[in-house]
């Protein structure tokens, strides 16, 4: 029994992994069995899936750490002038 029945905590973890396609096939089976009888996790799983699809729709761009460093350097030089 314990082989296929998992707790909500583990189900949540597998669900997260699944969003990044890192869950194994056994984990996915266990998750689906759990979702069959647990409505709270079903709800969380749906929200989680929706979040993944929203994130796929957009292109967020971030500064690389070097670019940020550069920005910081320029700014801090100027900032020092202001604090004196």
């Amino acid at each position: 029994m314990g082989l296929f029945f998992i707790k909500c905590e583990e189900a949540g973890h597998v669900c997260d992994k699944h969003q990044y396609e890192e869950a194994s096939i056994t984990e996915k089976i266990k998750l689906n069995i759990h979702l069959f009888y647990c409505s709270a996790c079903r709800k969380h799983s749906a929200t989680n899936k929706k979040l993944t699809s929203l994130l796929k729709n957009i292109s967020l761009q971030f500064l690389s750490s070097e670019e940020k460093e550069q920005l910081k350097k320029t700014f801090e030089k100027e900032l020092q002038k202001h604090q004196h």
Partner: protein, 183 residues
């Protein structure tokens, strides 16, 4: 209403990603976007004495950035008269085609989609900026930069299960932050 204060020491850490993303959806060029963000911070520094404390710091910076973006477009558009629409329906080949070309194509929703995606990107960016710094960092690396679990845990010196806990918390927080408008 609470009075807001400026604290320029944190500006780059707190707002550079937000401002950068805001700019890049509008100018489409990383280098120019970077310059505009940098100029915004410097302009903010110089205008600090004009800050009345009515708006939050980020709103205030965004309003400066908007001016910078407008100025940028003004500058590159100063050579007027270059844009011209030509329609030639004089040759016999295209005769009779013109009516269809002038009505909107109901199946072409790309413009609307782009606007919606920009709004969503801003909403997500906004929610991301409310997360604790570490959570946001791990989440960005994992989800947006698509880095491997192993790479991230090595870089930040955390265990894999630790990473998953952080990712989980970030996802839950993000979902509830976005819930009102996007779910």
């Amino acid at each position: 209403m609470p009075k807001h204060f400026l604290n320029p020491n944190n500006w780059v850490d707190l707002y550079s990603d937000y401002l950068f993303n805001y700019t890049i959806t509008r100018v489409n060029d990383r280098v120019i976007a970077q310059d505009l963000v940098s100029e915004t911070f410097l302009a903010g520094l110089n205008a600090m004495k004009n800050f009345k404390g009515e708006a939050a710091e980020r709103t205030w910076l965004i309003s400066i950035l908007k001016r910078k973006i407008i100025d940028y477009y003004r500058k590159i558009n100063s050579n007027k008269g270059k844009a011209e629409v030509r329609m030639t329906y004089n040759d016999s080949d295209s005769e009779g085609d013109w009516l269809e070309e002038r009505i909107a194509d109901p199946f072409d929703r790309t413009a609307e989609d782009t606007i919606e995606n920009e709004e969503l990107a801003e909403a997500i960016q906004n929610c991301l900026s409310k997360l604790p710094k570490k959570q946001a960092e791990v989440f960005k690396k994992k989800t947006i930069l698509n880095q491997e679990t192993e790479t991230i845990s090595k870089e930040l010196n955390i265990t894999a299960s630790n990473l998953w806990v952080i990712v989980h918390r970030a996802r839950v927080a993000l979902a509830s932050c976005l819930e009102k408008n996007w779910f």
